[in-house]
């Protein structure tokens, strides 16, 4: 059966991808953040997971309000990004893993989750920035990717408890897939931030640190928040905690924490970097 080797939490804020492109990782603004990625990249190099199951949210590249999936699963051979309106660069396409995608879809629907199945989607910075940061120089060619999107834009959106349970069901699906391939689960986005309104710029790093710690020891305690409560405590876009909850749901059970770093501000956000490995 397929095996989940670990889980990585990371920001997906576009500025990080720009910093990689420009080679300014060693400048004062960036060096502490990129130092946190060093052991994560080393772990990837040592363990070479075959597949990255990547939780992200689309920020209006592919999923407009006309038809907006609540949960959706990429089932394509390849995923490309595109112009998002403010200058992101095209990157080499991500390679899909359709056998596992369909296995996940079948398992989810048998287990009472009903996602949108996407055989042809563009992916935005939510998916491409994490891949660019974790695989510098776009060295992800040998790694297959399954992008899984959670609506974090228009309310109503999944409750945190639901995103966690969704991740759990996906973890069960991966572990029941008849294959000897290995998987890393990526939870992207967050952490606290608010882009819009007169409260723009609000951060809550104390809450973020608590969330990262609880993700290790007691993730279920984080599932009791409502999205309105997260908006108040962690800012309007703090609801992106959904993807970290899905990640931890997928990589369930006791874990060892190899990396836990929080840096702020990174663009208008607090940026978390976390690496969790299941205890054997």
């Amino acid at each position: 059966m397929a095996k989940i080797l670990g889980a990585i939490g990371t920001s997906h804020v576009p500025a990080i991808g720009v910093a990689v492109d420009r080679g300014i990782e060693d400048t004062p603004y960036w060096k502490d953040l990129f130092a946190a990625y060093v052991p994560v990249r080393e772990w990837i190099n040592e363990n070479k997971p075959d597949i990255a199951v990547l939780f992200y949210n689309d920020h209006g590249l592919e999923m407009f309000l006309d038809k907006k999936p609540t949960f959706s699963i990429g089932c394509a051979d390849e995923y490309c990004n595109a112009d998002e309106g403010w200058g992101i660069k095209p990157i080499p396409p991500l390679t899909g893993e359709t056998d596992l995608s369909w296995h996940i879809v079948n398992h989810l629907i048998e287990n009472d989750f009903d996602p949108t199945v996407c055989q042809d989607i563009k992916v935005d910075h939510g998916a491409t920035v994490p891949m660019s940061v974790l695989y510098p120089g776009h060295t992800y060619k040998g790694t297959k990717v399954i992008p899984i999107a959670i609506n974090c834009e228009r309310h109503p959106m999944p409750k945190p408890s639901r995103s966690y349970a969704f991740g759990k069901a996906i973890g069960d699906a991966i572990r029941s897939w008849d294959s000897d391939q290995t998987v890393v689960v990526l939870g992207t986005g967050g952490l606290s931030h608010q882009l819009d309104g007169e409260r723009a710029g609000y951060l809550n790093t104390e809450f973020d640190q608590m969330c990262m710690d609880k993700l290790v020891t007691d993730p279920e305690s984080l599932t009791h928040y409502t999205n309105d409560e997260l908006t108040e405590i962690a800012g309007a876009q703090g609801v992106e905690l959904a993807m970290w909850l899905a990640m931890r749901g997928a990589c369930s059970g006791p874990v060892d924490e190899l990396v836990n770093v929080l840096i702020a501000p990174i663009s208008n956000t607090a940026a978390g970097v976390q690496l969790l490995v299941p205890k054997d």
Binding site: T27, D32, H59, G60, L65, H155, G201, D228, N268
Partner: protein, 118 residues
């Protein structure tokens, strides 16, 4: 008009999504460079093409981001409007909070953690 649910915070829900649909559809079009260019050529005509209501059109022409939020704008698409104008998220943060970009950046920095320098 969309009222804040907590101070300075507008919830983008069904009511806002209905009110702002045309506005957000226009801003969604800014994913394409040809659309950004068409907007720059004649901003008012481009707003009319997408049937913006008078308050939305005025807010676009005035770059009044708060008014756009109050008229159903979603920040995900408004970010593309900002990109069309050559503004980044710190510039937009400054506009919405009545600060310069530098003041807004200083506010972010005042909440900083984990940086040894800078």
């Amino acid at each position: 008009m969309i009222e804040p649910i907590i101070e300075g915070t507008y919830k983008f829900d069904g009511v806002a999504a209905k009110l702002g649909y045309n506005l957000n559809k226009m801003c969604f079009s800014f994913n394409e460079e040809s659309c950004r260019e068409e907007f720059r050529q004649d901003e008012a005509a481009y707003c009319d093409k997408f049937k913006l209501n008078p308050a939305q059109k005025e807010a676009i022409l005035k770059r009044d981001i708060i008014a756009l939020l109050r008229n159903g704008g979603s920040i995900y698409y408004l970010a593309k409007f900002a990109g069309t104008l050559g503004l980044n998220v710190q510039d937009v943060g400054g506009i919405m909070t009545g600060q310069t970009t530098e003041e807004f950046q200083a506010y972010l920095d005042s909440q900083g953690v984990g940086k040894t320098n800078g």
